[in-house]
Structures are given as C-alpha cells and as structure tokens.
C-alpha cells in the first residue's frame, strides 16, 4: 500500500528515496548479513549495496537492485553512509514483524545527504511510524580484489544440500577446511573437532551440483567463527556459488528469492586462515 504523499513537499531535498511495498523484502536480506552492528550503505542508480565487515577478514555484501524497489530515486552517482544495522532492523520490524498474510509493512527510506539522518517512514494498517537514524561517515569497504580471472575453482550447488551440512558442522572445530579438486574428493568440507574429524563429500555428478569447474586441487582452511554468519544467508538462499582464487580467498555468493519471487544476491568474502598455513 503506497504511503500518503505527506512527505512529498520535501522530495526535492532528498538525495535518495527508496520505496518498498513490503519492508520484509529488505529486512530479510539485511538479517542475512547482520553479524556486526555497523553497515555501510552504498546506493547507485543500479540499486543498493549494504556491506558488513568483520576484523578485516570477512566481508558480507547484500545487493538489492533498483528494480526490487517500487520507487528508487537517486540524485547522485554514489550515495554512501554508515548506520547501525541493528537499529535499522529493529525499525524495519517495528510493527512486530507479524507473518499474517496480506498484512504488509510499507517502507519509504529517505536520505537528505551528508550529515543528515536516514529517515524511514513505515506504515502498516494505516498506522505510520517515522524513524530517524543517525548516520556516520562511511568507511571504505575492503577491496578483496577477487576477480574472475584469478578464480581457480568454482562450484555452484543447490543450497538444500549445504544447509544440512552447515547445520551439522562440528562447532568444536576452529576451522572449516574446504577442498576443491578436479579429482576425488571433488568438493569436500572438513572439520576437526574435539571428538574427531568429519568430512562432507559432494561428488561432481551429484544432482545438487549445478556447475563444477575445478582446475586444480586446492585445500584451504577458514576460521569457523568467520563462516558461521554465512549460514543465515545460506538458509535464505536457493543456490550458492563457492569460488576460491589463487590466493585461497573464498567467495560465497548466495542467490536469494524474496517474498515476491525477485532475486537478490548476498556474497561473503573470507580470508584463508593464515596460522594453519604456516603449520
């Protein structure tokens, strides 16, 4: 249900206006990357990109294209700001986040510009709430320099199979070891916990495997604590692409379908565990 036009008088002052009929289309995606308090928002005419980072080793990005929004107006080429993601999610769910069908929370997100708060207009069932969240100076997101030309191994899996594996992973293990190889074992997730080791093997001809392109055998270890937040994105997604490059950096890209069937992407970049490589 579109919001009333009460704020249209200020329209010309906003550098960014984004409207959604269903705020859940945004909040669900943001929950998948909400492992830290602060998020960097970058808006371009193509859409919205939200970045969350952890200890310079992990970066999560959520991409919501402009087409997902009912209205997406941007006056500059790049608008960037940083907000507290936890607060933003609380505001998006301010009406309690009920899942009664047919009852949707509408959202209008407005940003005047540098130094101004991010204004959210939320409406459900005729009740309107206005939230103003302070913004901060956007930090520069780390560039992991992960480009397609350096990718050595790439695998696209259906999320079903990985969801089960990730939910069963031995949490006493400090690392998750990912082995990708053109020969046996084609794609293997391994943990080394207190009680012993566990290996999850996915053959390249499995029906869960949509694409298998591995050029050389690579085994990399990643800290379990860093990869744990990605399970939220995995739970929402229907497909996941796992890529490693020559340096052992990991890229996980999740294809997420929102409530209206539109596609958004969430990606995670992770550094390999340096200590393990020294051993």
């Amino acid at each position: 249900m579109p919001l009333s036009t009460q704020s249209q008088t200020n329209e010309e002052f906003y550098v960014l206006v984004a409207t959604l009929d269903n705020a859940r289309n945004l909040s669900n995606i943001l929950k998948a990357i909400a492992f830290k308090d602060h998020a960097i928002f970058s808006a371009t005419p193509n859409g919205l990109k939200v970045t969350v980072e952890d200890s310079k080793c992990l970066q999560a990005n959520a991409f919501i294209q402009a087409e997902i929004f009912q209205e997406f107006t941007i006056k500059e080429d790049l608008v960037g700001f940083q907000v507290n993601l936890t607060v933003l999610l609380d505001c998006l769910n301010i009406f309690g986040g009920s899942t009664v069908p047919g009852v949707l929370t509408a959202l209008r997100m407005c940003y005047v510009g540098y130094g101004y708060p991010l204004t959210l207009f939320l409406e459900e069932g005729g009740v309107v709430t206005v939230c103003k969240i302070n913004t901060q100076e956007p930090e520069e997101p780390i560039d992991f320099d992960f480009c397609s030309s350096n990718v050595t191994n790439k695998v696209i899996l259906q999320s079903e199979s990985l969801k089960e594996a990730f939910s069963e992973l031995d949490m006493t293990s400090e690392v998750l070891q990912i082995t990708m190889s053109p020969t046996q074992p084609y794609f293997r997730l391994s943990t080394f916990g207190n009680s012993g080791s566990a290996h999850y093997d996915y053959p390249k001809d499995s029906d869960m495997m949509e694409l298998f392109q591995c050029t050389k055998t690579q085994t990399n270890r990643y800290k379990m604590s860093l990869l744990k937040p990605s399970t939220k994105a995995l739970a929402l997604s229907c497909k996941v692409s796992v890529r490693t490059d020559t340096r052992g950096f990991l890229s996980l890209q999740y294809l997420v379908r929102n409530d209206d069937g539109q596609i958004c992407f969430v990606e995670y970049y992770c550094c390999p565990d340096e200590e393990a490589e020294e051993e």
Binding site: E164, A165, N194, A198, H199, Y200, D201, S206, M208
Partner: protein
C-alpha cells in the same frame, strides 16, 4: 535316490521365471550359449550344461523335462556353492566393519537416542554375535544394551578372534559426539546406506546420503574395559510380557518430570504409580495410579508379590524404541531391591535395560483423604487382603480391564527414608536395615570369565572381584 515312480505322479509345477538364479524359464528366456535345449512336445526347455552331467539326472534319463526343471530348482537352492556363499557371509574376516541399509539406520539411530537418555558415554562392542551398543548412567544404577545381530547388517566383518585372542576392541565414545550424527526425523529420509568400521583408534562412520553426498565421521575412541551387566533373568520370580504399546501408553500418564515410579505386582493385577518421598509435601502432589489386569499381558508370571521402585526416565528410551518397532516388552524382576530388567527382541536385535530398584523395609502407598490408618508396618508385599477405598474416583481402563479396588495400606509413621536411589555398592552385601541401597548387577568384563559371576558387583571397576554369593552363571546381557 529318487523314486521315479513317485515323481511320475507329480505334476510339473509352474515355475516363476526367477526361481533359478541365472536361468530363466518362462516367456522371457535368457538362453546362454552353453545351455542345452530339450524339446518336450511343443515347448523347449533350457538347462545349464552342467545339469546334464549331474549324477542324479544321469541315472534317470527317462525324466520328463518338467521334472528335470523341478529338480534343478530344488538343487540350486541347496547347492553347495550357495551354502558356501552363505557361510562366508557369517565367517569372521579381516576387518571390523558392517554395512547397513538406510532403513536400518533409523533403528540404529533410535537405539543411540535411547542409550543417550541413560548416560554420557556409549560403549561399542563388536562381537561375534553382533554389534553391541551399551550405556550406563553416572550413578551406575541403570544399564542398557542394544545388540544388533549380524543379520541386521548387509555385511558384517569381524577381525578373526584367533588373531587377537584376548584383545577384542572395546571402545567407548562420548555420547555428545555420536548423538548429533543421528538426527532422527531427517536421518531416515536422507541416508541411503550406512557403514561403520572400527580401526586402530578410530570409529569411522560413513553415511551415504541422497544425491551422492557422503558424510564421513572419524571419531576417536578411548579403549576401556568392557561394560556388561550380569543379570539372571531366568531366576526372576516375576515375569511379564507386555504388548508393544501397553507400557508406553501407561507411562505417558506420568509427567515427564516424574523421576521414579513404583510397579506393584500381585496375582490379581499389576499397577504403576508414581513415587515420591514422604514429608516432601506429598499431599500437594498429584498421585497417579494405574492398574492392569493380568489378561492384558502376553505372559504373566507372579512368583512373589512385590513393589519395585525404579527410575522412569531411563526406561522411556527403550519404551519409545519398542513402540516404534512394535515389539513386546518383557519385564523380569523380583522383590524390591533386586534389579529389574526390561527387554525386547526380534530377529535381528535385542535390547535390554537393567535398572536398580529401591530397597526398603517399609512400604509406601499414596494416602487417601478418607483413609483409615493401618497399624501394620510390614512391607506391602505381605498385605494380602485388598480393601475398599471409598471416595476415590476410579477411571475405567481403556484396555477393558475390570475396575479393581486398589489395596489400601498406609505409611508407617516412624522411619523417614532418604530420597533418591542411594549410592552404588562398592563392597559387601547391604544390611537389610533401614539404609537405602541400590543393588546392581554389573561386573566389568575381565578377560577370564571364569569366576562365578556375582550379581552384586558393580560396573566400571574391573579389579574388584567381590565374591559374595555364589549364583549359577547366567548368560551376560
């Protein structure tokens, strides 16, 4: 020697096409080059060539084709080659390993869950008679064993006993590392095959799941002394065999928090009621009592009237398992103080739970608000005459048993019995005085099973050889 006269009277049986391995008789014949064709009337029959040289057929050249076919079908069932194949399956091989199909994984997983309710550690014991999974609780007052016979597995290979005579592997795993591998609702849907093997210091579990996914878990185990309980079930005076759902339906009425229940048996009925200590505000608790008529049991034997009190929590696992497999539950017990054994079995598995019971000299029963006090302080089993309880609402049994007036007996006033199940015995036989003792039949299995197995020695301490009473050796569980 075949009596051709008799055979000539036999009609040729109509054979289904698949009865002979390798040869097909029927509309879709698969004729191999070396088969011999024999024409009889309009039909042509094919036999493998070796059959023509079979001695018993040679001597009876006059046999008709149908009769030969019949004889061939019988002989292939009993062929020595097939016998050899079957024996090989059961023979001991070089590796410890067993393979199961996906359906069996469910039973295995349920067994692990049932054992998990008891203790924190799981003992895995590959034996010639099967793979035994055992568990004991921390107080050593409850023991459970699930034995899967080799028939349960598609393949069961054991390192031959002669190679490592006294050093059979006894491995102990932490329950928390094995339980998450068997998530019950999902495991039967996803796992197609399951392989478990025990090597030097690892238990390897391989789950072959749908879509070609293979999950391998290598668990380190601790070598430990074997865990085994010795329980002479054949010496128990009281034996019950209850249909699968009966006991689990009964225990359903007790709240999950109910720790202990009392099972009373007499010639007239069996009753279950909740157990609680005196003086703990017992009047404020809900008292539940259910009675069953002996007819509700498949087998009912009462040697001595008794009331036994044991921990219900540890039994629930087995009852759930029995219900899911529709297996009747056998109960073996004696007087209060002696352990009670619950067991289930079918062709491929046996499961037992042995629980210690409270030993007490005083009787207990829920008091009624209209009760008249009794003077007697003797144990309940000596009270014979049932008495009427007025003012107590009785609920008709859904099983159709007649409504029985429960016996009334009251608390003796003097002695306060301590709560809980007491400590496991370490030394000698308990004195019959008011001290509350749980006796238990455990004995760590030492390599020489020669000594007369004493029913009162406890698990875990293999060096203890307290020989108190001589009892005839019963088969270990």
């Amino acid at each position: 020697m075949v009596n051709t006269g008799a055979l000539s009277r036999l009609p040729s049986p109509a054979l289904p096409p698949h009865i002979c391995s390798g040869c097909e008789f029927g509309p879709h014949k698969r004729v191999r080059k070396y088969d011999i064709g024999i024409t009889s009337g309009n039909k042509q029959f094919y036999f493998p060539k070796y059959m023509t040289t079979a001695p018993f057929l040679e001597q009876h050249a006059s046999l008709a084709a149908g009769k030969r076919r019949y004889l061939h079908s019988i002989s292939s069932i009993y062929s020595t080659e097939q016998m050899r194949r079957q024996m090989k399956q059961h023979y001991l091989d070089v590796l410890h390993s067993c393979l199961q199909s996906g359906n069996c994984v469910k039973a295995f997983g349920r067994a692990v869950h049932a054992l998990a309710r008891l203790g924190d550690e799981l003992w895995l014991d590959p034996l010639a008679k099967g793979l035994a999974l055992r568990s004991v609780n921390s107080a050593h007052s409850a023991y459970s064993c699930f034995l899967f016979s080799p028939l349960f597995f598609h393949k069961y290979n054991l390192r031959s006993a002669t190679e490592k005579s006294a050093e059979a592997i006894k491995c102990k795993l932490l329950m928390k590392s094995i339980l998450p591998l068997f998530r019950l609702p999902s495991i039967e849907r996803t796992v197609e095959r399951f392989e478990i093997s025990i090597e030097e210091d690892l238990v390897k579990m391989k789950f072959f799941c749908k879509h070609g996914i293979v999950k391998t878990h290598n668990l380190r185990f601790q070598e430990s002394d074997a865990l085994q309980a010795v329980f002479s079930s054949h010496l128990c005076p009281n034996v019950l065999k209850a249909p699968a759902k009966l006991l689990s339906d009964m225990v359903m009425h007790f709240p999950v928090s109910q720790e202990e229940i009392t099972l009373s048996i007499s010639a007239a009925k069996v009753s279950l009621r909740n157990y609680f200590e005196r003086g703990n505000g017992h009047m404020k608790l809900m008292h539940t009592e259910m009675s069953l008529h002996p007819d509700e049991f498949h087998y009912f034997q009462v040697g001595v009237d008794s009331d036994i009190t044991f921990c219900l929590k540890e039994l629930r696992g087995l009852l759930t398992f029995a219900e899911s497999h529709c297996l009747p539950v056998s109960v073996y017990f004696g007087a209060a103080g002696k352990p009670v054994c619950f067991s289930i079995e079918d062709m491929v598995l046996e499961a037992t739970v042995v629980l210690a019971t409270l030993m007490e000299t005083e009787s207990r029963a829920p008091s009624q608000h209209t009760a008249t006090p009794l003077n007697t302080t003797t144990s309940r089993c000596e009270v014979e005459a049932p008495q009427d309880r007025s003012g107590v609402e009785q609920v008709a049994s859904s099983q159709g048993s007649p409504i029985l007036a429960p016996r009334l007996s009251l608390y003796p006033s003097q002695i306060d019995l301590p709560c809980g199940q007491g400590d496991p015995i370490r030394t000698h036989a308990p004195s019959p005085a008011p001290s509350l003792v749980c006796s238990l039949l455990f004995k760590a299995l030492s390599q020489a099973e020669d000594a007369a197995l004493d029913p009162k020695v406890l698990v875990g301490v293999s060096d203890e050889e307290d020989v108190m009473e001589e009892e005839p050796q019963s088969p270990p569980l």
